[in-house]
C-alpha cells in the first residue's frame, strides 16, 4: 500500500486568545511513500514529524491537504476505518490485560466478513507473537515485562490485524542504548518479513539512517529533504540537513568564495568554479580531512582521541563556528599535538558550501 501525502498542512490555533499566533505544525507536506518501504520521519522535537504521523493515522485531522492510501482518499476517514497499526511512544499497552489479551484485542473488534473464530484469533495472535519473539510471555502482564519486551508486544498488537500501514511513534526512545540497537534491527527484520508499508518517527538521526529505506528530514513543519539515507548524507540540501545528519556532526566554518577560490578564514582550501564571489558557510564532514604536510587548512590540535582503527583529532580553527574542529583520520597518521599545528587537505566531495543568507546549498565544480 503506497501512501500519498498531498499539500498536507496542520495549523494549531493559538491557545492564548489575546494573540492570534497560530502554530503551523506541518506546512504543505508532499510525499509519496512507496509500497512496502520503511520510511523514517526525522527532525528535532517540534518539527511536526509526530503530527504528520498522527495525521496519517487519522487521530489528528489535517487543516488542509489530502492523504491517500493506495488510490483511496482517506483524508475524511476516521481512524477506526483506516486499517492502520500504530505503536505509541510509550506503547499504551492495556495494563489490566495479559500479553495474549492485548494482542487478541484488535482481532476481537473485527466485524462482518473479517470476523474470526476463537481458534483463528489465537492462531493469528500466536503468529504475531512469534514474529516478534514474545511467544514465551503470553500470560504475563505488561508491568511484568521489560521495556524492550513491551515494545515488541506493542508491535505485535499493531501487526496482528494485518494493517495496511504500520506507524511507529518514537518506538525506541524508551529503551536503553543496547536494546535500542537490537530493537531497531528487529523492526527492520519484521518490516521486511511482513512487507507492510511502515512510517516511523524519530529524532535520532543514527536510528533513522540505519534502518530506513528513505528518510524525510523536517524542521519547523517544513520538509527539508527526502531521500535515501546515504544520498541525504552525501548530498544535503541545506545547512540544517548537513548539521542534523552524521555523528560526529559536520564541522562548520565561516568562509568566502573569491575569484574561483574557496577560503576558510584566510586559508585557501579549494579552487572552485561556477560560484560568484560571496561570503559562505562551509561544512566539512569529519571523514573529509586528509592529514597532509602541504595541506591548506591549518588547525591547532588540542587532543587526539584514539579509537583503534581511526583517530579523532580535536583541533581549533579561527573561522570554525563550532568550538572544535573534529576530524576522523587513519590511525597511521602520527599527529604531534605539541607541534601546535596540523595541516589538512580536504576531500572535495566531503565539503559543502551554503549561502550565508539562505543557508541553502551552493553547488560548485572543482577546478
Amino acid at each position: 500500500m503506497k501512501i500519498v501525502l498531498q499539500n498536507l498542512t496542520k495549523i494549531f490555533p493559538s491557545r492564548n486568545k489575546k494573540s492570534d499566533e497560530e502554530v503551523i505544525a506541518v506546512n504543505n507536506f508532499n510525499f509519496e511513500i512507496p509500497d512496502g518501504k520503511l520510511i523514517g520521519l526525522l527532525g528535532p522535537s517540534g518539527c511536526g514529524k509526530s503530527t504528520t504521523l498522527y495525521m496519517i493515522s487519522g487521530l489528528q485531522k489535517p487543516t488542509s491537504g489530502k492523504i491517500f492510501f493506495g488510490d483511496d482518499d482517506v483524508t475524511e476517514l476516521s481512524t477506526e476505518n483506516r486499517g492502520i497499526g500504530l505503536v505509541f511512544q510509550n506503547y499504551a499497552l492495556y495494563p489490566h490485560m495479559t500479553v495474549k489479551q492485548n494482542i487478541l484485542f484488535p482481532l476481537q473488534n473485527l466485524k462482518g466478513a473479517d470476523k474470526m473464530t476463537k481458534e483463528q484469533m489465537l492462531e493469528r495472535a500466536y503468529q504475531a507473537a512469534k514474529l516478534v519473539q514474545i511467544d514465551q510471555l503470553l500470560d504475563r502482564k505488561p508491568s511484568e515485562l521489560s521495556g524492550g519486551q513491551q515494545q515488541r508486544v506493542a508491535i505485535a498488537r499493531a501487526l496482528v490485524k494485518m494493517p495496511r500501514v504500520l506507524l511507529l511513534d518514537e518506538p525506541l526512545s524508551n529503551l536503553d542504548a543496547r536494546l535500542r540497537l537490537q530493537t531497531r534491527e528487529e523492526i527492520r527484520r519484521i518490516q521486511q518479513e511482513t512487507k507492510i508499508t511502515t512510517v516511523f518517527v524519530t529524532h535520532d538521526q543514527e536510528e533513522a539512517m540505519s534502518i530506513s529505506d528513505m528518510i524525510v528530514v523536517m524542521k519547523t513543519g517544513v520538509v527539508q529533504q527526502i531521500g535515501k539515507p546515504q544520498d541525504v548524507y552525501d548530498d544535503p540540501a541545506n545547512l540544517f540537513v548537513a548539521k542534523f545528519l552524521g555523528t560526529p556532526p559536520i564541522n562548520v566554518f565561516e568562509g568566502r568564495v573569491q575569484d574561483g577560490m574557496l577560503y576558510i578564514g584566510e586559508d585557501a582550501v579549494l579552487p572552485i568554479k561556477g560560484v560568484e564571489n560571496q561570503p559562505v558557510t562551509v561544512g566539512i564532514r569529519p571523514e573529509g580531512f586528509i592529514v597532509d604536510e602541504n595541506g591548506s587548512l591549518k588547525c591547532k590540535p588540542v587532543n587526539v582521541e584514539v579509537m583503534g582503527r581511526d583517530v579523532s583529532v580535536v583541533s581549533t580553527h579561527g573561522a570554525s563556528l563550532n568550538p572544535f574542529v573534529r576530524s576522523i583520520v587513519d590511525a597511521d597518521n602520527r599527529i604531534d599535538v605539541g607541534s601546535g599545528v596540523v595541516r589538512y587537505a580536504i576531500k572535495p566531495h566531503k565539503i559543502f558550501i551554503f549561502s550565508k543568507k539562505t543557508e541553502e546549498r551552493i553547488y560548485f565544480e572543482v577546478k
Binding site: 487521530l59 476516521s78 481512524t79 477506526e80 510509550n90 492495556y94 490485560m97 484488535p106 499493531a158
Partner: protein, 314 residues
C-alpha cells in the same frame, strides 16, 4: 523514625488531636461495647450504681426478638442492595459522558454536584412534595386531586396517578420513592470520584482502542471499567457502608413517623432502630444494635474487598 530524643516533641504536637479522638471516638466505642454487654443497661437506672447490671448477652437477644428489628434490617439491606449498584452504574455512565463532552461540562458538573451540598432533610421535603397527592381518601365522595409533579407528569401522559407516599400507599411505592431519592443523593460523590479517576486515565489507551476500531461499549467495559476499577471498588465499598447507615432520607420524606400515616415505622432502618432505643433510654439495647450493625458492615466490606481482589487492577 523520629529519634528517641525528639519523640516527646512529636507527642506534644499530636496531643490535641489525640485528646479529642480519645474523648469523642475511642471512649464512646469502648463504652458502646461495655453497655452492650451489660444486661438492660440504661443511663437512667445507672445513677444508682453500675453493679446492679449483670454481664451478659441479653441485650442482643432482646434486639433479635424485636419484630421491629427484622423490619429495620430488611429495609436496610433492601435499600443497600438495590441502590448501590444502580447509583454506581449511573454515576459511571454520567462520569464517562461528562468526560467526553467539552461544552457545558462545568455547568453540568455543578448541577450533578448540587445534591451533595444540599441539606438532606430539605431534599426529602422537596421529594415528598414531588410525589405527593393532596386530597382526601375515605370521605363519602372521595375527592382526589393530584398536585405532586410526578403524578402530574404521569397523568399528562394519560396514566393514572400513583399513591406514592400518602395514607394507604403500598410498601413498594414507598420504597420506589426512597430508592430514587437515595440514588440521586448518592450520585454526586460517586461521579466526583469516578470523574477524577477518568481524568487521570492515559488518553493513549483510548487512542489505541480507536486505532483498533473498538466499538464504544467495548471501550467502556474492556478499558474504562478495568482502568477505573480501584475507584469503582472504593465507591462501592463506601456506598455499602453509607447505605447501611441510611436514615435521614426516610425522615426527610416520611417525617418522624418513618412511614405513611397508616403504617408508621414501616420504613425504619437500623440506624432508626438504634435511635429509637436511645430515645427510650435503652442504651444497652441501642449499643447491642449498633454492634450488630457494625458487624454487618464489617462483614459486607470484607466480602467486598475479597471480591475486588480478583476484579480490581491496581
Amino acid at each position: 523514625m523520629v529519634e528517641s530524643k525528639q519523640q516527646w516533641k512529636a507527642w506534644i504536637y499530636l496531643a490535641p488531636a489525640i485528646a479529642l479522638l480519645l474523648v469523642f471516638t475511642v471512649w464512646p466505642i469502648i463504652n458502646t461495647v461495655r453497655m452492650a454487654f451489660l444486661e438492660d443497661y440504661s443511663i437512667a437506672l445507672a445513677s444508682g450504681g453500675e453493679a446492679s447490671f449483670r454481664f451478659g448477652v441479653g441485650n442482643f437477644v432482646k434486639v433479635a426478638e424485636y419484630q421491629d428489628f427484622v423490619t429495620c434490617l430488611k429495609n436496610t439491606v433492601l435499600l443497600c442492595v438495590i441502590t448501590v449498584p444502580i447509583s454506581t452504574l449511573l454515576a459511571l455512565l454520567v462520569a464517562v459522558a461528562l468526560n467526553n463532552i467539552k461544552p457545558l461540562r462545568k455547568t453540568l458538573q455543578t448541577i450533578f454536584f448540587l445534591p451533595y451540598v444540599t441539606n438532606s432533610i430539605a431534599i426529602g421535603m422537596v421529594f415528598a412534595a414531588m410525589f405527593n397527592i393532596v386530597g382526601s381518601l375515605g370521605t363519602r365522595r372521595p375527592l382526589i386531586q393530584t398536585v405532586g409533579i410526578v403524578n402530574n407528569v404521569i397523568e399528562f401522559f394519560g396514566g393514572s396517578y400513583v399513591n406514592w407516599i400518602n395514607n394507604g400507599s403500598g410498601y413498594w411505592a414507598n420504597m420506589f420513592v426512597l430508592i430514587i431519592y437515595i440514588v440521586w443523593n448518592a450520585l454526586p460523590f460517586k461521579i466526583l470520584i469516578l470523574l477524577g479517576g477518568l481524568q487521570s486515565v492515559n488518553k493513549q489507551y483510548y487512542e489505541a482502542a480507536k486505532v483498533d476500531s473498538t466499538p464504544r461499549w467495548r471501550v467502556l467495559w474492556r478499558i474504562t471499567v478495568p482502568l477505573l476499577s480501584p475507584m469503582i471498588a472504593y465507591v462501592v465499598i463506601t456506598g455499602f457502608i453509607g447505605g447501611f447507615k441510611e436514615y435521614t432520607s426516610i425522615v426527610g420524606i416520611f417525617g418522624e413517623s418513618l412511614g405513611p400515616a397508616h403504617a408508621p415505622g414501616r420504613l425504619n432502618t437500623m440506624v432508626g432502630f438504634i435511635y429509637d432505643a436511645l430515645a427510650q433510654h435503652h442504651q444497652g439495647r441501642a449499643s447491642a444494635a449498633a454492634l450488630i450493625l457494625f458487624g454487618i458492615i464489617l462483614l459486607v466490606t470484607l466480602v467486598n474487598l475479597q471480591v475486588s481482589k480478583k476484579r480490581v487492577h491496581y
